[in-house]
């Protein structure tokens, strides 16, 4: 479903992805962790070409993302992206936020899109917030609208870029709950997060990134019990002690 072959990216002189090789199968849930600046956000942002890569091959859903001639709007419609800062459209209600792309990109009739939007918002626990504007919602509610916005496109892949990092602690769980349900439905997901409880419980594999390299990737039982690399052990000891 997603295949990185020796993928490199530079920001100017800064080598942020150094030869990434990675294969994500349909239905797989991959959690990516690592220190800030390790390139993990950049990694998932390359998948729908929010960042372009300079070297290597990146195939997503059969499309060559590394090829600048590949039109991206069609592929982006198949990939839901959830941002750390939610990025909801502030001038639209929750329902308008989740129906915009289905109506404009998928060309679904408005009424049908709204039916589906209401359904999906109900699924993330926001049936009573359809006509609220983002500023009237809590952070956790906003992030759930953002997830619903992705889901309304009926995507094949969902990408999460630190979805709970901007949330107050008491709101983290309501968002993870939605993501957990999604994983159990068989959605292909890549989640950049430091929520190791979520990784242990939901992920099929956990990857550790540092300095633009994929240091280690393994099923969670193995990843947490017997990390092979010194750097992984060091990172885990720092974030698991509290």
């Amino acid at each position: 479903m997603i295949e990185f072959r020796d993928v490199h990216k530079w920001f100017g002189d800064l080598h942020v992805l150094k030869g990434i090789n990675l294969h994500v199968a349909p239905g797989e849930v991959l959690v990516v962790c690592g220190p800030s600046g390790s390139g993990k956000s950049t990694l998932i942002r390359t998948i729908n070409r929010l960042e372009t890569i300079q070297k290597g091959e990146l195939i997503v859903d059969g499309m060559k993302v590394h090829d600048p001639r590949t039109p991206m709007t069609k592929l982006r419609a198949e990939i839901g992206f959830v941002f750390q800062q939610f990025n909801l459209y502030p001038h639209m209600t929750a329902l308008e936020n989740v129906t915009l792309a289905p109506i404009k990109v998928r060309r679904i009739p408005r009424r049908e899109a709204e039916e589906q939007g209401k359904e999906v918002l109900a699924k993330v626990g926001l049936a009573d917030k359809l006509y609220q504007y983002p500023a009237q919602l809590s952070g956790g509610q906003q992030q759930r609208v953002a997830i619903a916005r992705g889901l309304c496109m009926r995507p094949k892949i969902m990408l999460f870029d630190e979805p709970t990092s901007a949330l107050d602690p008491e709101m983290i769980n309501e968002v993870l709950e939605v993501m957990r349900a999604l994983a159990h439905e068989g959605m292909t997901m890549i989640v950049v997060t430091h929520e190791m409880g979520f990784a242990r419980e939901v992920a099929h594999r956990v990857a550790f990134m540092d300095y633009g390299e994929l240091i280690e990737i393994a099923p969670p039982e193995e990843f947490f019990a017997r990390p092979r690399s010194e750097r992984t052990r060091h990172f885990l000891s720092k974030i698991l002690t509290h």
Binding site: R76, A77, N87, L100, A101
Partner: protein, 221 residues
Amino acid sequence: MWGVYLEQLLQSLPFFLQGLWMTIAVSGLSLMAGTAVGFLWGILRSSRRRVAKALIGAWVDVIRGTPFLVQIFVLFFILPEFGVHLEAFPAAVLALSNLAACFICEIVSAGIESVPHGQREAAVASGLNGYQQLRHVILPQALRVMLPPLVGQYVLLIKDSSVVSAIGVVDVTRVGWLTVQRIPQGILVFGLVGLLYFAICYPLIQLSNALEKRLGRSARR
């Protein structure tokens, strides 16, 4: 003695209204054309099209850095040397439209740039094409920032339109010049001229203030 002048002035009122109509025609046409072109330039200027950006940026700087009176003289007196002859009215509308476009371009691109980058990313990520991103996500948010200064700019441009009297367009200001030669009471004549400008501009000033309050409030919603 003022009574006599006042009566004379009252008799030339139709002349003033004609001038007022000309002022409204010149500024109305120019504001419409200037808004359309200014939006286009502003959008291009905040896009990634490098050549268009550089050209528009340079042109806006030239126009902002030279007096409107000089621009209109160039258009009206110097272009004919190169075989381009324009009547006073189209020359006036063209010059003022261009001036309007330049100022509005700045307002539009500042408005677009005020929209947080994450908004465009969200729109891109959901598969919207460039036009759809602009139409449904960026411009509605930019418009809130743009509207009060835009209406404020309209007021400035309507007042700047008085410069077109210099090439013989008979607008309110020109009517003032012509009238004061018959009625030597500058304070009366130009008082009336000022009053007529004020009558057009004041509602716009009020509108700009109201928009500022209203949009400021909804932005905090």
